[in-house]
């Protein structure tokens, strides 16, 4: 790592403010491998590359534990059929507790702010519905029961859940209470409105909408008012994924300009300032550091098809490789 004085000298004019400390903190989980030969690997600060170890095989890190001690992992089995289940795995000793029944799909878990419970989607009893469960595996409760499904729950600090549902004939964004009551529709458009995510401060919701051209990240207030794009239209490009910074000031948007051309664009939510980080054209899966100063991401810059997980300060400096052989999908825990 660079000394602070050098770091300051590398800040680019007009780029976002860089890290206030040189060393990022926390733990980064990375998927290494593909198909039936993959594992979740743990990289811990400082240095990340030092002391890496395997957390689990055949599972994906799905939701970083706000307490920083565990990972909500989705385990996959393919024999005799494809089955998924949600587990809580300890980073300290890799012991794991099964939280949910297995189903053909158990996806998109989201933690409550204090880490005491999760919401997730499952097709165990229907096409797709939402459930909640306590951290210790008790208190499972079905939150939705809709023929055409409910998807992608995300919990605000106050415990309100935003989610996608097709109950009105196509995908729209709704909110509901933590017990599934008081569903409230926030969007109303025949084009896709999907992938809603609260800002960490709970004041805004960002989501992907196709209401104006191709899929793009929009934002609105918690009551559905004030909807607007977070960045201008860009001909020929679509937004495929995004992640709020923990301080709610920016959104890291994964923008696809063609089939294999993916950029990570940092958009300041108030000013609209836009800055591309990572390897232009070949970066995806942004994961923010807890202090909002760093981003881990997947880079496909190797022409041989190898993916790597990289780290960069948000001003584009201090690019470091964390995992270089067939590594992807970083998740950052406090």
């Amino acid at each position: 790592m660079q000394p602070v004085s050098l770091l300051l000298s590398l800040w680019a004019c007009g780029s976002p403010a860089g890290p206030s400390v040189v060393q990022p903190t926390g733990t980064i989980l990375v998927v290494q491998g593909q198909g039936d030969d993959l594992q979740t690997v743990v990289y811990t600060a400082p240095g990340f590359a030092i002391g890496s170890r395997t957390l689990e095989k055949q599972s994906y890190p799905s939701a970083p534990d706000p307490r920083g001690t565990h990972s909500a992992q989705i385990r996959i089995t393919e024999v005799p059929e494809h089955i998924e289940s949600l587990w809580l795995t300890s980073l300290a000793d890799t012991s794991a507790v099964q939280l949910t029944q297995a189903a053909t799909k158990v996806r998109n878990p989201s933690w409550s702010q204090d880490g005491s419970w999760l919401a997730f989607e499952s097709d165990a009893e229907s096409y797709r519905d939402l459930y909640r469960i306590n951290r210790d595996g008790t208190g499972i409760k079905r939150l939705t029961d809709q023929k055409h499904g409910s998807f992608e729950p995300h919990i605000t600090p106050a415990g309100l859940i935003v989610f996608g549902t097709s109950r009105n004939g196509n995908a729209e964004v709704y909110t509901m209470e933590a017990d599934g009551t008081n569903p409230r529709r926030l969007t109303n458009h025949p084009a896709d409105d999907v992938h809603p995510r609260w800002s960490p401060d709970g004041t805004q919701i960002a989501w992907i909408s196709s209401r104006q051209g191709g899929p793009a990240v929009w934002r609105m207030t918690s009551d559905g008012s004030g909807a607007k794009r977070i960045k201008p239209l860009s001909p020929g490009s679509t937004d495929v994924d995004f992640a709020w910074s923990p301080d709610s000031s920016r959104v890291a948007v994964v923008t696809r300009r063609s089939a294999n051309d993916l950029d990570i664009q940092l958009v300041h939510i108030d000013t609209g300032e836009l800055f591309i980080v990572g390897d232009p054209g070949v970066s995806e899966h942004p994961a923010w550091s807890p202090d909002s100063k760093w981003i881990a991401y997947t880079s496909h810059a190797d022409h041989g098809g190898n993916a790597r997980v990289m780290l960069t300060a948000i001003d584009g400096t201090h690019i470091t490789t964390i995992c270089q052989n067939n590594c992807w999908l970083p998740r950052w825990l406090p």
Partner: protein
């Protein structure tokens, strides 16, 4: 939106040979293997297999793209490379051509040469007249690997030789034989005009009852091979697989294999809740077949682009299915077969144009009344009645929707395909950054006689379009016959009158320049010419 290139022709002797209908004469010895044409040129030189035939096979199998086949149906061998070379043919062809097997799969030159050497050997075994393109039909059928005679006949007649006779674009050049070639092969029993969208019933025995379950979603598949190979495999009793529909590579034909009310076997995972603590027993039998409809598409998941005609036809079919089955038209319910990633709902590995596809489905069903098309035109003319003076000819930015014997578009690699701003004509448009260069999009059209055309243009307007950009009319001698400056920030989603221009017999064109102050994006979407509709 077929992306075309205007790179200079490097193998003129070959093209001359192709245009005159010869099969192996006057070929260049200066082979440029960076160029697709150069590769086929070399293959013909070395093996005697006609380059034109090899290119037509490549078009039929892979749309001349490098592909890496992945198993879509158990037991079916998958294709590789620009030729879709598959199974034992890979090793045999590689051995004959002197390459490693891996090279024959992954290297474009080795892939073409392995195919050519293999076909040359088969031609010798069968003792065909190699100077006759039609005589190669048996070798073409053997290359397909299709065992069903009807499907093999369709592959020969309706895929490879039809492509060959209609001609195709390679590096910005239109390649076709000098005269119609008739394959020496049994004619398929189904006589399709194939000039419009056609649905053919080919019942598959591979289905069973849904058991009363509702249909919840629509799954999008790719065949990992050719159209005829795909539907014939899915109708063979021994394969144990099927799909409800198969769409061909240009969207001109749909095969209906299984009634939507029945359960087709398009997802292989067999689900048994006994293996899963009794969870989700309503899915027993299969995980998803019970509650879904499946559409297969000719081609490969690894190909880098799809013919706009295929996307358009599939979108209309998807609209009809979702209407009939009450499936929500959104990305929660219209999903890819490979979408098994639990970390992400999107399907990043696929090059399927999801955004455009969903948009077209919603437009076709009337969900998006302000959507990007003019009502789903599929041919080169407008859907409405012809105007009094003459039938208008629309030259679309999608050559799949053009009758290219009458009109077509070509653009340089500086232009790219987009459907980002709604209000476009048909399936999308080309867009390019404005700059101090002409580098025009060319809307070519053929006129039998010298006559006046009413010329109009369509674009989707937006704030980042140029406020002043020039359309030009040029006759076959490149003499300017008219020009009009337009503002693409307005007047979008309508036909805008450019002028009444006098054109000459032959290939005329309307050019749209990029020449404007940098910082804007000029749109080449569609041009309409109506002969004899000029104001006095």
């Amino acid at each position: 939106m077929a992306r075309l290139s205007l790179r200079p022709l490097t193998v003129l002797p070959l093209i001359a040979a192709l245009l005159c209908g010869c099969t192996n004469s006057g070929l260049s010895s200066e082979v440029n293997t960076d160029s697709p044409i150069g590769i086929f040129d070399r293959a013909e030189e070395e093996t005697g297999v006609p380059a034109l035939l090899l290119m037509a096979i490549s078009q039929a199998e892979t749309r001349m793209q490098m592909v890496e086949g992945h198993e879509e149906f158990p037991g079916q061998v998958t294709g590789h490379g620009i030729m879709g070379l598959r199974g034992r043919n890979i090793q045999e062809g590689a051995t004959l051509a002197g390459f490693h097997t891996q090279a024959a799969k992954e290297d474009r030159v080795a892939n073409v040469l392995a195919t050519a050497y293999l076909m040359a050997q088969w031609a010798e075994e069968e003792g065909i007249n190699t100077n006759s393109l039609g005589a190669w039909a048996n070798v073409v059928a053997r290359y397909s690997g299709i065992s069903d005679p009807e499907a093999a006949a369709e592959y020969v007649h309706h895929e490879v030789y039809q492509i060959l006779n209609q001609g195709f674009e390679v590096e910005g050049l239109r390649v076709m034989p000098g005269k119609v070639v008739h394959p020496d092969f049994p004619i398929p029993s189904i006589d399709l005009t194939r000039s419009g969208s056609t649905t053919v019933c080919s019942p598959s025995p591979n289905y069973n009852s849904r058991g009363g379950a509702d249909v919840d979603f629509l799954i999008i598949h790719t065949c990992e091979g050719s159209y005829s190979g795909c539907w014939s495999w899915l109708t063979k009793p021994s394969t144990g697989v099927s799909s409800h529909y198969v769409v061909n590579d240009k969207g001109t034909e749909v095969r209906a294999l299984v009634d939507e009310s029945d359960r087709a076997w398009h997802i292989s995972a067999q689900y048994d809740c006994g293996n899963n603590d009794g969870v989700a027993c309503f899915r027993d039998g299969t995980s998803m077949n019970t509650i879904s409809v499946g559409i297969e598409h000719a081609g490969y998941g690894s190909q880098s682009s799809w013919d706009p005609g295929l996307i358009s036809r599939s979108a209309k079919l998807a609209c009809e299915i979702t209407d009939r089955q009450g499936i929500p038209r959104d990305s929660y319910h219209i999903i890819g077969h490979g979408q098994l990633q639990p970390w992400n709902r999107s399907d990043p590995g696929a090059h399927w144009p999801w955004a455009d596809y969903l948009n077209q489905i919603q437009v076709a069903c009337g969900d998006l009344s302000s959507g990007g098309t003019t009502g789903g035109t599929t041919g080169g003319t407008t859907g409405g009645p012809p105007s009094a003076p003459g039938v208008p000819l629309v030259i679309d930015s999608n050559n799949g929707a053009n009758d290219t014997s009458k009109g077509y578009i070509d653009v340089s690699s500086s232009w790219w395909s987009s459907a980002n701003i709604s209000g476009y004509y048909n399936t999308g448009y080309f867009v390019a950054a404005t700059d101090a260069v002409a580098d025009p999009a060319n809307f070519w059209f053929y006129s039998d006689t010298a006559q006046c055309f009413r010329v109009e243009a369509w674009w989707s307007s937006a704030w980042d379009r140029p406020a002043a950009i020039t359309f030009l009319g040029w006759d076959p001698s490149d003499v300017e016959v008219g020009r009009q400056v337009v503002n693409q920030r307005g007047d979008g989603s309508q036909w805008n009158h450019l002028g009444d221009w006098e054109f000459e017999p032959g290939w005329n064109r309307v050019l749209l320049s990029r020449w404007a102050a940098a910082g804007s994006y000029v749109v080449a979407d569609a041009v309409r010419g109506t002969p004899g509709a000029c104001n006095p």
